[in-house]
């Protein structure tokens, strides 16, 4: 990994040490293929609803091309706080308890930079979104993945968290509804996790980017439970709920203390989120409910289709209550996740993501995204069925 002695490396050791995403080769394989049906795409297939795009165009027309306040346009922050209160629970003051970020990606990054010191440990359920570990490492802190299991529908267990807690543990990073498993938390799960965080005096970071993609009545955010506001950072954004991934816009809500600290990092590294995009985000919050709910209903129906087909062919998965992922177990095929994904790609031209991309404990599983048309999902399922039949014969 290190450059040879004769050739000096300029790369900082902690960056050189970042994993070079074990599945990059697999991604390149997928990208080189023309006729692939991909269930490997973690973003909505819908183009952003027109009224939101039009709001961005109108903002450009009007000359909304300047920096905004570092925290973000106050009109947008007010709308965000109102939306959060109404949809997720939790009272935040738009003046100092909310910051507009360039995606949840940036929100997570500036938050971790604001709160972590070298050597601090961060607990997070694994398998997890691919950025968590590296983002923690870039703060010279220690990622501590905590295994979740199919028998619990991939909900993290307090006893497993306890086992990994040390005096250096500072943050519990949660992501429910979950990428890659589709797991969600009940009110009781949230209460138990809140209790754990309070007992160990941890800061909770709740990445709720898929919260609007919930297929059952959901319970209020962990951030709104008694005693939790002062130790929770709520991260959410527009990418998934409003199909706005390319806009790069999101927000964080927490105490004034934490938002102030995040603002410092944000101010020096980003200045502010792009102004015409903030105008589009405001439009999404004000008039986007119908479009959001229509997409949600379509995801719900696709979920029904894909879960049934996978279970019917013996790739077991639970019915996920959130996000747009299913995480079927592929152990019955006798293949490991990477081999399964590679062979499925080469033999049937269907792309899924090996579970190991999301952590070692994703072995034995693959992630299928149903942010694809029903026609593509049906085609992919037919091909996976053929693939599995060929394995049984061979």
């Amino acid at each position: 990994m290190n450059a040879s002695r004769s050739c000096r490396s300029w790369v900082a050791p902690h960056i050189a040490a970042l994993p070079r995403s074990g599945i990059r080769d697999f991604f390149e394989l997928v990208n080189a293929m023309d006729d692939v049906v991909s269930l490997g795409i973690g973003e909505p297939d819908f183009v952003t609803p027109w009224h939101i795009r039009e709001a961005a165009i109108y903002a450009l027309d009007k000359g909304v091309t300047h920096y905004t306040s570092n925290l973000g346009d106050i009109r947008l922050r007010k709308a965000i706080c109102r939306y959060v209160k109404e949809r997720f629970g939790g009272d935040y003051d738009p003046k100092g308890e909310c910051i507009v970020t360039v995606g949840v990606s940036e929100g997570l990054d500036i938050l971790l930079r604001a709160v972590l010191s070298p050597g601090d440990e961060v607990l997070y359920p694994s398998p997890s979104y691919v950025s968590y570990g590296p983002t923690i490492q870039m703060c010279h802190a220690e990622p501590v993945p905590v295994e979740t299991r199919a028998e619990h529908d991939f909900v993290v267990q307090v006893s497993d968290l306890e086992a990994k807690t040390t005096p250096k543990t500072r943050v519990l990073l949660l992501n429910y509804p979950n990428n890659p498993t589709g797991a969600t938390l009940t009110a009781a799960d949230k209460a138990a996790l809140a209790d754990f965080a309070i007992r160990h005096d941890l800061l909770v970071v709740s990445d709720e980017i898929y919260e609007e993609l919930s297929y059952v009545d959901r319970s209020p955010s962990i951030a709104s439970l008694p005693g939790m506001k002062e130790r929770t950072v709520l991260l959410n954004g527009f990418s998934k709920a409003f199909a706005m991934t390319g806009f790069r816009i999101a927000y964080a809500c927490s105490t004034n203390d934490i938002i102030e600290a995040m603002m410092k990092v944000h101010q020096y590294s980003i200045m502010c989120a792009s102004s015409m995009v903030q105008a589009a985000a405001l439009e999404a919050l004000q008039n986007g409910a119908a479009g959001r709910d229509e997409m949600l209903e379509e995801y719900r129906q696709r979920r029904n289709v894909i879960v049934k087909r996978l279970n019917d062919m013996g790739l077991n998965c639970f019915m996920p209550n959130g996000a747009f992922y299913v995480f079927p177990c592929i152990r019955s095929t006798g293949l490991d996740s990477m081999t399964f994904a590679k062979r499925l790609l080469q033999e049937q031209h269907v792309a899924v993501v090996p579970g190991t991309a999301f952590g070692a404990c994703g072995e034995g599983f693959v992630r299928c995204s149903y942010a694809s048309s029903i026609a593509d999902i049906e085609t992919a399922m037919d091909r996976i069925e053929t693939f599995i039949a060929s394995l049984r014969k061979g």
Binding site: S21, N31, E43, V47, Q301, N304, V305, V353, A357, I374
Partner: protein, 165 residues
């Protein structure tokens, strides 16, 4: 899911794609195919579903001419606009009839094989109906969007990466 909610969802799916199979509807809504078939049957028998049709663009190269005709009528005692609307609807050239709010009363969609054919329908049949006070005819020149569907998808690309973790 209760029956009325199911029916609403079935209608939404059929309105988007009249050729969707009962099997697919059943899979999407996670219920038995037989139940879906029965509900569609009910919707048809109770005339909630009036029929199924294809959405055809101008590319079909048909020589059909389409006109929108605004009709001002004299409503009748007791039946209001209903009788005359039904009567106008009996002409096979008339594809749709709506009662509308605003400057006129009935909005007809009329198809014919040529401009002349529609012109003579208006002159010889429509305007001289009892109760019809005036008409205004608009010939359709080009179709950009119908039933929620835009020709060429409005020129949008919507390209995604093939894989995103």
């Amino acid at each position: 899911m209760e029956r009325n909610e199911l029916k609403t969802k079935i209608l939404a799916l059929l309105e988007r794609n009249a050729r969707i199979s009962t099997k697919e509807i059943a899979e999407r809504l996670a219920c038995e195919e037989a139940l879906i078939a029965a509900l569609i049957d009910e919707l048809e028998k109770s005339h909630v579903i009036m029929g199924y049709s294809a959405i055809v663009s101008d590319l079909a190269n048909s020589s059909e001419v389409l006109a929108i005709i605004e009709v001002e009528v004299q409503p009748e005692r007791d039946t209001g606009f209903d009788k005359i609307a039904e009567r106008l609807g009996k002409f096979p050239e008339v594809r749709s009839v709506y009662l509308v709010s605003g400057r006129y009363d009935l909005r007809l969609e009329v198809v014919g094989s040529s401009l002349q054919e529609i012109a003579s329908f208006v002159a010889a049949k429509l305007s001289c109906q009892n109760g019809v006070k005036s008409t205004a005819t608009y010939f359709m020149l080009k179709k950009y969007k119908e039933a929620g569907i835009t020709l060429n998808g409005g020129g949008e690309e919507n390209e995604r990466l093939k894989i995103v973790p």
